[in-house]
Amino acid sequence: MQQVGLLVGKDLRIEARSRQTIGLVVVLGVLIVVVLGLGLGTQQGGGVAATAVLWTAYLFSGVLCFEKTMGVERADAALAGLMMAPVDRSVIFVAKLVSNLALMALVSTVVTAAGVLFFSFDLSAAPGQFIGIMSLGLVGFAAIGTLFSAVVSSTRLQGGLLALTVFPLSLPLVISSTQLLLRIFRDGESAGGQALAVIIAFDVIFLVASWVLFEWVLEP
């Protein structure tokens, strides 16, 4: 835990000093919400469109976030140094995952506020359930993103390939959480059932799978 804390602290200190990733990712997320808001115009349908728009913004911002956090390690062969340190590779995975989640939490807060504002999405009916469902979704998304950012960072295509690999793998999360949020905010039903089970299963399966597979893919 101490090693994870040290590595997360290092990542967040680098980000706090440079502010390269967070500024870029937040602005991209808000831009996506604005562009989709303008494109959908008056056909937004309130909360119906907002959940899908928010996920679109989370996905694109998230991919950029994962790419940048792993890119920091690639610059000046920092990853090679990290791999030579007496630290288990699973510790590196957990630290990268926590760093990505911290950045994604910040991004999603700003993007959600923009979505609520531009789409008149009324969260007051179940704010706790919204935060819980989206948080569960982001954990699974970050697990997949962290694994594949390590995979893709050593290939030619990099950013394009990361989006290409992470988006289709994350679609069960998108479908389940949007269907669940529609049930809560449009139909007035409570959370639970198969959709929530899929999200939790996704988190468990891909946290474990990414943790196990991370050491195979990490290469300086």
């Binding site: 295509l157 290409l164 289709p168 793998l169 069960p172 269907q179 597979l213």
Partner: protein, 234 residues
């Protein structure tokens, strides 16, 4: 020896072609026409065997990917790649027959019904697998990355299926099959399975030959000039 190998391959593909002809004849002349959907329902005899064989191919990708991670033998990677290509091909058939069936039955080429959506997502997952392979230069790195993706993608399949089932469904829960329909369906599984197995073996053998050829060319390639022995200043 080589001629006998060629004749075995020829016999295999001839049998496959005959099985296709037999299946097609049974669909056209033996299987009854479904009362509600009419003739368009006959696409089912191609659709379902292709779907089942798609899963078989992707299961082979999963098993071969695990095999590669454990054994680090290149032939596991060749097998996974061959199975993924055939799986994507068969999944394309499933998508095409699915959309054609949707047009005939519901009057629209596409609807976000769970099964069509699931086929599309499955196709996307494995097209990305093939794209990922083509973007990595180093053979060992390519095999490693593909193996990891092959495992993760297969773990994702049941989740994609369960999440797609949350969408509203137009499909009938089940189609009541007459005995003649069941026999025809069973016969139609034979050519599709033969095609699946044959294409995977052919792709696997081709990859093995290419690897062998690369190794042979590497052995006979001119060695770099030793400038020290020539008195150069390398």
């Amino acid at each position: 020896m080589r001629n006998s190998h060629k004749s075995r391959i020829f016999t295999y593909w001839l049998l496959t072609a005959l099985a296709f002809a037999a299946g097609g004849a049974m669909v056209a002349f033996y299987a009854p026409t479904e009362s509600t959907m009419g003739n368009i329902q006959k696409i089912f005899y191609l659709h379902l065997p292709s779907a089942i064989n798609t899963f078989v191919s992707f299961l082979i990708v999963f098993v071969a990917s695990i095999g590669y991670l454990i054994g680090r033998k290149a032939w596991w990677d060749d097998l996974a790649a061959a199975a993924a290509k055939v799986g994507v091909l068969l999944c394309s058939v499933v998508l095409l027959t699915g959309t054609t069936w949707a047009k005939g039955a519901w009057g629209t080429w596409w609807t976000w019904s769970p099964r069509l959506t699931f086929s599309l997502l499955l196709w996307l997952l494995y097209v990305v697998y093939l794209l990922t392979r083509s973007s990595v230069d180093s053979r060992q790195r390519k095999a490693m990355i593909s193996a990891v993706y092959g495992i993760v993608a297969f773990l994702d399949v049941p989740l994609v299926y369960l999440s797609a089932r949350l969408l509203p469904d137009l499909h009938p829960a089940s189609i009541a099959l007459a005995p003649e329909m069941k026999v025809t369906l069973a016969v139609c599984f034979i050519p599709l399975t033969l095609l699946n197995v044959g294409l995977i073996i052919a792709g696997y053998a081709r990859a093995g030959r290419a690897r062998e050829q690369q190794r042979t060319e590497g052995d006979h390639a001119p060695r770099p000039m030793n400038l020290h022995r020539l008195g150069g200043a390398a």
